[in-house]
């Protein structure tokens, strides 16, 4: 399995919250060699089922991405937009985008009023989204032939390899965690595995855990492992909120089943996976929040991959840490058996 290829291809595939069909089709194909059955449901959740006789475990990472959406076309041909999910307006000026029009995608660049034509107050503040525009290099008439209000706009930032096996791209939140599931699925082929495993790539996480909610209902798992990205240390993002880039993160808090979490941490210890630990005192801000309360309740744990510059087009991860997450996940799943729940509540 070529992880770089999967990350490069998947992060450049369209899959905005609510319209994930392309990226869902991509990942459905990727899971096929490693599971017995793959389906894509009406929420564009990819459900890849590796059959087993043991406990039913749902592994979940989301496939949707944040993006922009056309909301107006000016008479000079420039395109105005709104955000889908939490797009930081500071990343927009000078960014290249794809506008997904009716005849395919159009190259565009995001422009703003030049600073020397602004007053001092405006210069001292960040650009607001409604003051920015997409330049398609066409007249309004031509733009309107191809682009409509509601069309999607995604970032056009190529996959970039940095030093020390770090890579930067858009949408590594959370497609890097789907890559972790894929790698774990590959590893599990050569491991003892009793568990009945559902690999779920969920839709609409960026707008509130909506895909995971229906997928958890449909799968009806005994337990779940959610995979998402978390903040890695960078300037301005210190140890109070972030963790080192080089180790998987486990989370403590009311949404995480403590004994299951202990099992995960013990598993990491047994297999020499270095871990960081963080605390979510309330909700986790991931699909776990919805899976935990699905049907009659689903004991869940969270494995996080540290990521720098979340929700920018240059999200950065370490491929070594990604591999460690996959190794931990595979061992954890492999070691699940009928006794998994024996001492969970006492």
């Amino acid at each position: 399995m070529d992880i770089k290829k999967i990350l490069s291809e998947s992060t450049s595939t369209l899959g905005v919250s609510g319209q994930e069909e392309c990226v869902a089709a991509y990942f459905a194909e990727q899971f096929k060699p490693y599971v017995d059955e793959v389906t894509v449901d009406s929420m564009f959740n990819v459900v890849a089922h590796k059959k087993g006789s043991g406990p039913k475990v749902m592994l979940c990472a989301h496939l949707d991405e944040i993006a922009l959406m056309v909301n107006h076309i000016e008479d000079d041909g420039c395109v105005r937009f709104a955000s889908v999910g939490g797009v930081d307006p500071r990343i927009l000026p000078g960014s290249r985008v794809w506008v997904h029009g009716r005849n395919g995608k159009l190259f565009g660049t995001i422009g703003a009023l030049p600073p020397h034509l602004m007053n001092a107050e405006d210069r001292a503040n960040n650009y607001k989204m409604d003051k920015l525009h997409i330049d398609l290099g066409m007249s309004a008439e031509k733009v309107r032939e191809q682009v409509r209000v509601g069309d999607l706009v995604t970032f056009n930032t190529p996959f970039t390899e940095l030093a020390n096996n770090q890579v930067a791209a858009k949408s590594l939140d959370d497609r890097s965690c789907i890559a972790i599931m894929l790698r774990a699925a590959e590893r599990l082929q050569k491991m003892y595995c009793e568990a009945d495993v559902y690999f779920v790539c969920s839709g609409q996480e960026e707008v509130g855990g909506r895909g995971a909610k229906t997928a958890a209902f449909a799968v009806e798992p005994d337990l779940a492992v959610v995979l998402d990205v978390s903040f890695a240390l960078t300037p301005g993002c210190g140890p109070d909120v972030a963790k080192p880039l080089d180790a998987p993160i486990v989370t403590h808090g009311p949404f995480i089943q403590p004994k299951l979490n202990k099992r995960l941490i013990d598993c990491a210890k047994a297999h020499h996976v270095k871990l960081s630990q963080e605390v979510s005192g309330r909700s986790t801000g991931t699909d776990a929040d919805d899976i935990v309360i699905s049907r009659g309740g689903v004991p869940s744990v969270l494995i996080s991959l540290p990521l720098k510059y979340m929700h920018t087009a240059v999200e950065t991860i370490s491929l070594d840490t990604l591999e460690e997450c996959a190794r931990l996940l595979a061992h954890f799943v492999s070691e699940l058996d009928a006794s998994w729940e024996d001492d969970l509540w006492i």
Binding site: N126, L132, N164, T316
Partner: protein
């Protein structure tokens, strides 16, 4: 040589070596013997076909572009930077860059939106806050790979898009460099002093030396200039318009055009049917100022390609305007 190649060369102000090398090679291949002066300007003098005494006309364009320069290293392996030339820091976040002569890939990130307070959201991240990430594991590795003084350029390939537009970096002023290369292939009555000058972006330093040493009779500055024509901008605030031809300045932040040259440029444009416009705002400075005031003074006119989002990683030009710059300059030169 094409515009794509020229814009994709990384050469911020003060570090023109990469573009200088390419230009020298290109000029030699064309049979010229370029002269490199002590400001790092590359100069070629091509004799005219007219009878002596011929006018000596210096056509200049600057080789440098805006970029960043490493000023230090932060714990965790991040590069601290400042600007080499004027870059609004608001265009830097979430962009890719190339670091140093080895073109090491890097990215410029920011604290995630999830962790920002309302004040953080409004506040502009300045050069104190902005760091470049090359994936270094620690400060020592960052120092070794990108020592203080290392130059950084935008990593945005040249792309042609829309109806005859191109998007990329460094159109300011590789468009001018390209136009000069093309002018050198023309037979002209006057002596053409082709000057590829350095350090415009940090105060027009190269052009000053070139104008002094060359003592031209006339100076024509080929530039890229700000545009501001898109985004529901009131007509009065527009500087010039992409797609409406080469912009002729009557006055800008650094010089007042020689009235005769300005009128002549417009007349030639009209007579030859070359798309042109008058730059409708007194803004921006360029080499015209220092050339005009070299020695006992030089009549100067500035011909610019309108550039949307100038000094950003994704500047936009209309290719027909680049063509118009070449045609108008050629037509003007034929009148001397």
């Amino acid at each position: 040589m094409d515009l794509k190649t020229l814009t994709e060369i990384n050469a911020p102000a003060g570090h023109e070596q990469p573009i200088r090398r390419v230009l020298i090679e290109e000029l030699r291949a064309k049979g010229f013997n370029p002269y490199i002066d002590r400001m790092g300007n590359v100069i070629v003098v091509k004799e005219g076909t007219g009878v002596a005494p011929r006018k000596r006309v210096m056509v200049s364009a600057h080789m440098d572009e805006v970029g960043l320069i490493v000023t230090g290293h932060a714990e965790g392996g991040f590069l601290k930077v400042t600007q080499a030339g004027g870059i609004d820091p608001r265009v830097l976040i979430s962009k890719r860059v190339k670091v140093g002569d080895d073109n090491i890939p890097g990215v410029i990130g920011a604290v995630a939106i999830h962790l920002q307070s309302a004040a953080d959201r409004a506040r502009v991240m300045g050069y104190r806050d902005i760091t470049v990430d090359i994936g270094a594991n620690d400060k020592g590795e960052a120092e070794r790979k990108a020592p203080i003084g290392t130059y950084i350029s935008f990593d945005t390939p040249y792309v042609e898009y829309g109806d005859g537009y191109a998007c990329g970096k460094a159109f300011d002023d590789r468009v001018g460099c390209w136009t000069i290369l093309r002018l050198l292939e023309e037979e002209l009555p006057c002596d053409l002093i082709a000057a590829f000058v350095s350090e415009e972006e940090v105060g027009c330093r190269g052009a000053s030396g070139a104008a002094f040493s060359q003592e031209p009779d006339i100076g024509i500055v080929l530039e890229g200039t700000t545009c501001n024509d898109l985004g529901d901008i009131p007509e009065v605030a527009q500087v010039c318009k992409a797609g409406e031809g080469v912009a002729v300045s009557f006055m800008d932040g650094s010089s007042i055009a020689n009235r005769d040259l300005f009128k002549k440029a417009l007349e030639v444009g009209e007579k030859e049917g070359i798309a042109h416009q008058v730059k409708a705002s007194v803004s921006g400075g360029n080499d015209g100022g220092v050339i005009q005031r070299a020695r006992e003074g030089v009549p100067v006119v500035v011909l610019s390609v309108p550039c949307r989002y100038i000094h950003s990683p994704s500047t936009v030009v209309k290719l027909s305007d680049v063509e118009a710059q070449f045609e108008l300059c050629r037509a003007l030169l034929k009148t001397f």
